[in-house]
């Protein structure tokens, strides 16, 4: 049995504790905003916050999130108005949109720790999140606009 908080709600899971958090979120809780992209922490599409840290949900087992607090894109802001989400909309970042929840969660985690990142810090933080449509330039601008250093 694993106890975990997801978007502020207490949950318990009594299945296979080797199951990655990703499949628990998607298949068991129906929180499909967290996307499946590669399954091996290479693309960042499944990025969520675990105790405030950006984590690839595909590569962390349920046993490793016991008693932790998980925040997904659905729980980032009750109205969807987190500064990163607003910045994303203001520069029309998405094309297909599939990777964007992961990108936003990664950026939100960066800015929580580093409110005024340099371009280099943005590069370093975001390079684990792949966008095949190629929205990187706008992602970069959106992160900077959402930061205190914009």
């Amino acid at each position: 049995m694993v106890s975990v908080r997801v978007n502020g709600q207490a949950r318990s899971f009594d299945g296979d504790t080797s199951m990655p958090l990703l499949w628990y979120l998607r298949d068991e809780l129906g929180l499909t905003g967290t996307k499946f992209g590669c399954g091996v922490a290479l693309c960042g599409a499944c990025t969520v916050h675990v105790d405030g840290e950006a984590v690839r949900a595909c590569s962390i087992a349920m046993s490793d999130v016991a008693d932790k607090s998980v925040v997904t894109i659905e729980g980032l802001d009750p109205k969807g108005e987190h500064p990163v989400q607003m910045a994303w909309r203001n520069v029309s970042v998405p094309q297909c949109g599939y990777c964007q929840a992961g990108q936003i969660m990664q950026a939100a985690a960066l800015l929580a720790k580093t409110p005024a990142p340099t371009d280099q810090q943005i590069d370093d933080a975001m390079l684990g999140n792949i966008c095949r449509c190629g929205c990187y330039q706008r992602i970069h601008v959106a992160v900077r606009n959402a930061s205190k250093g914009a």
Binding site: D27, G37, G80, Q95, G97, L127, C131, G134, Q137, R138
Partner: protein
């Protein structure tokens, strides 16, 4: 370090339509009347839409519904994969002609059903090209119906009323009625005849060509609410992954699922039979594991013991095949176009420049791996998936099931990337087969990334050989180009071993150069993998080779590459490949007179981009500029890349400038995003893209060995320069044509920076 990433720092006003629409679930009074026959419209100009399956539909009843509160619902019938055409640009065209307030418009996605909605095959950069005219007629028809309804209500002549921004006004008295108030009466009217419609004058357009309309799914995408095929969830749904034959045309010889059945959550094992070539989009042979969640299915698959019968492609090796393709272009091939006498002109030339180029197979690697869910209830099938051709997929599935297409509903979700991969609906057929094996219970097939990379319909591999004969005055007088690439037609008929007219039309027989002696030949190339079409298709290889070769010829003659390019394009004229091509000349399915090859427009984008990019400007050490221009999908694009190469051979792209002439454009904002994305995807294929095979097996598996460009490698600045055209210039397309010029412009820039010529993609460590 400070730099500007692009020109989008200025915040674009956020249109928060979603909030306005909250609570609007009222029944539309203007009911979709799908049973009405399709109207074949008279268009201002003809397009290839007429020859696509099911053509176009212009009936307002099919596409527009207006609720009593004035909310306008517009049906998006094509697939949305990120370019914004299907769910934003086309509905926006309807809304503009309807003179609706875009803030009060809601877009709903149609199911796969071409008889009702017209062609839905979202491919070939066709959405705006084929549907700008029909969607204008839909909007204008709905507007006219509202005007007639208002005139009836007031008892006045319809000529004296006018629809204006969500209201109909009686001009003499100033009386007004909102669209919502008129909806019911308007809905009861027949669709007006097309020849009675008055289309708006361009000066009256509110949205078309006006700039920055954000995509309708923007809020949902940024909040995780947007639903893709992978995200479908049904009560009682089961999850499946499939171990597929690692070799195309292979079969399951035997398997042992004992260990799999011990994995908690695994429900059933289903063997899937393969289909002999040509298999079209039939699933590959394999063994499916159906489970209560995806993880159990994945673990169950890991525990399978399968013996494969690899079949006829068991020994296929892409290294040996590369040599085979290169051989094929070193000898005379199948003649595809002949003008003058290139053989004789090469023999008598003062100088001959020759170069060979090789570009490998590529995987599409959409961020959303393929997925589909199917269930059958009371003999009715339902499928939820993300495909580029929802109507074609539905009809094919119905045929395979031996049922009436009307008993099959295909719900098309957002596509997490398409790029041509999701034109093939093999995964949707898999879902249906597995649901059938579970007596119709809902089953979702999940492709993992490894499945996606190893079982794609791959972008074709190409070898090219170009020879240019130069006379004593340094003029190019002969042009011989041989190209060999396995054909995607091998999916549909016994392998033709030579490209079909579609493949030839993509940057080969349509070569626009002003050279008196031109000879184009295809080399023989048998297919051993599932060849598919990938964004821009054969244009990628052809443009890379041709535009690289132009710069090579320039270098050999000591000329400026831009001047050489313009000289080869020649004076403004219409090039017709029709009488010179030995097979019929396919021009993206479009009529040659409406979308001619206009070298004036090609010149113009090349000149424009050179000017905007500051061609010839002073650059830091290790930097270089490269240029390329290419017409594809009846759109003209030219790109200048600035590259920076360090002493270890690492590449950076400080700046990209692209000029595009796509005829009359609808939404600049999405044109810019497509061009920015094309630069990133073009850079990815140039730097890293390569699928190799050994013993018939794809050697790559995930983003570790099939690398794509990441955030820190993206071009720092991408400037898009869009040529302005009036509505009378037929709209073309934008999703694909940004891609082909990028790789050659990059490679030409690398040559300018380093003196090293790239003739084999990917670049990989060739500069190290």
């Amino acid at each position: 370090m400070t730099y500007q990433r692009n020109q989008h720092d200025v915040a674009i006003a956020n249109v928060s339509r979603r909030n306005l629409l909250k609570g609007v679930a009222g029944t539309a009074a203007f009911v979709l009347a799908a049973q009405l026959p399709a109207i074949r419209p008279a268009m201002a100009y003809a397009t290839g839409a007429a020859s696509m399956p099911h053509g176009v539909v212009t009936n307002p009843h099919v596409f527009v519904a207006i609720a009593q509160d004035g909310t306008v619902t517009i049906v998006a019938h094509r697939a949305e994969m990120g370019n914004g055409a299907a769910r934003t640009s086309l509905p926006m065209i309807v809304a503009d002609e309807l003179d609706a307030d875009w803030k009060r418009v809601r877009v709903v996605q149609s199911p796969g059903d071409e008889e009702t909605y017209g062609n839905q095959d979202t491919d070939g950069s066709r959405s705006v090209r084929h549907f700008i005219q029909p969607m204008r007629q839909v909007g204008a028809g709905a507007r006219k119906m509202l005007e007639i309804a208002a005139a009836k209500k007031w008892g006045v002549d319809p000529k004296d009323v006018v629809a204006r921004f969500h209201e109909v006004v009686h001009t003499a008295s100033g009386r007004k009625l909102g669209y919502g108030e008129l909806a019911e009466a308007a809905a009861a009217l027949p669709a007006p005849a097309l020849d009675t419609l008055a289309l708006k004058k361009p000066a009256d357009f509110r949205y078309m060509g006006k700039g920055d309309v954000t995509i309708v799914d923007l809020f949902d995408i940024t909040t995780g609410k947007a639903t893709y095929g992978q995200d479908v969830k049904l009560p009682g749904m089961l999850f499946a992954v499939i171990a597929r034959s690692p070799v195309v045309e292979g079969k399951v010889a035997s398997f042992d699922a004992t260990a799999t059945m011990k994995v908690p959550g695994v429900v059933k094992i289903v063997k899937i039979d393969g289909t002999p070539a040509p298999a079209a989009f039939a699933p590959l042979a394999g063994v499916a594991v159906i489970a209560k969640n995806t993880w159990a299915a994945i673990k169950g698959r890991d525990a399978l013991k399968i013996t494969w019968d690899d079949g006829p492609n068991a020994n296929f090796d892409s290294v040996a095949y590369k040599a085979h393709l290169e051989e094929a272009v070193r000898k005379p091939g199948k003649l595809e176009r002949n003008e003058g006498d290139a053989e004789a002109a090469l023999k008598s030339a003062a100088k001959v420049v020759t170069a060979e180029y090789y570009s490998p197979h590529l995987a599409h690697a959409t961020m959303e791996p393929p997925s589909a869910t199917a269930r059958m209830t009371d003999g009715k099938w339902e499928i939820w998936t993300s495909v580029q051709s929802p109507g074609g997929a539905r009809d094919d599935i119905a045929k395979r099931l031996g049922v009436d297409p009307k008993s099959v509903t295909l719900h098309n979700e957002l596509l997490g990337g398409g790029f041509g991969r999701k034109s093939k609906w093999d995964f949707a057929i898999e879902a249906v087969l597995l649901s059938k094996a579970m007596d119709g219970a809902p089953v979702k097939v999940v492709w993992t990334r490894e499945d996606d990379i190893r079982h794609d319909f791959y972008h074709t591999v190409t070898a090219e050989r170009l020879e240019a004969g130069i006379d004593k005055d340094n003029k190019v007088v002969a042009w011989r180009h041989r190209s060999a690439a396995p054909s995607f037609m091998s999916n549909f008929k016994p392998d033709p071993k030579f490209p079909g007219e579609i493949e030839l039309g993509m940057g080969f027989v349509d070569t626009p150069f002003n050279v008196p002696n031109i000879r184009l030949e295809s080399g023989e190339a048998q297919s051993h993998v599932r060849v598919g079409w990938f964004r821009s298709v054969n244009n990628v290889a052809h443009a890379w080779a041709i535009q690289s070769f132009v710069a090579e010829v320039a270098h050999a003659l000591g000329r400026d590459p831009k001047d050489m390019l313009l000289e080869l394009i020649g004076p403004p004229r219409v090039v017709s490949a029709a009488e010179k091509a030995t097979t019929s000349w396919w021009d993206y399915g479009e009529p040659h007179d409406v979308y001619p090859i206009d070298t004036g427009r090609l010149r113009k984008v090349a000149e424009l981009v050179a000017e905007k990019a500051g061609w010839g400007r002073q650059l830091p050490k290790g930097h270089g500029l490269g240029i390329a221009a290419h017409r594809s999908f009846v759109t003209y694009v030219a790109t200048v890349v600035e590259v920076a190469v360090d002493d270890k051979g690492n590449i950076k792209v400080p700046r990209v400038d692209t000029a595009i002439d796509c005829g009359f454009f609808v939404n600049q904002e999405r044109i810019r995003s497509q061009i920015e994305g094309a630069a990133v995807m073009g850079l990815a294929l140039a730097k890293y893209g390569e699928i190799t095979l050994k013993n018939g097996r794809v050697q790559q598996s995930n983003f570790n060995d099939f690398q794509v460009v990441r955030h820190d490698e993206a071009p720092l600045v991408t400037n898009t320069h869009i040529v302005e055209n009036g509505i009378e210039v037929p709209s073309s397309g934008v999703g694909e044509p940004g891609m082909p010029p990028f790789a050659p412009a990059l490679c030409n820039a690398i040559f300018a920076a380093t003196g090293k010529r790239i003739r084999r993609l990917p670049i990989g460590d060739q500069l190290a």
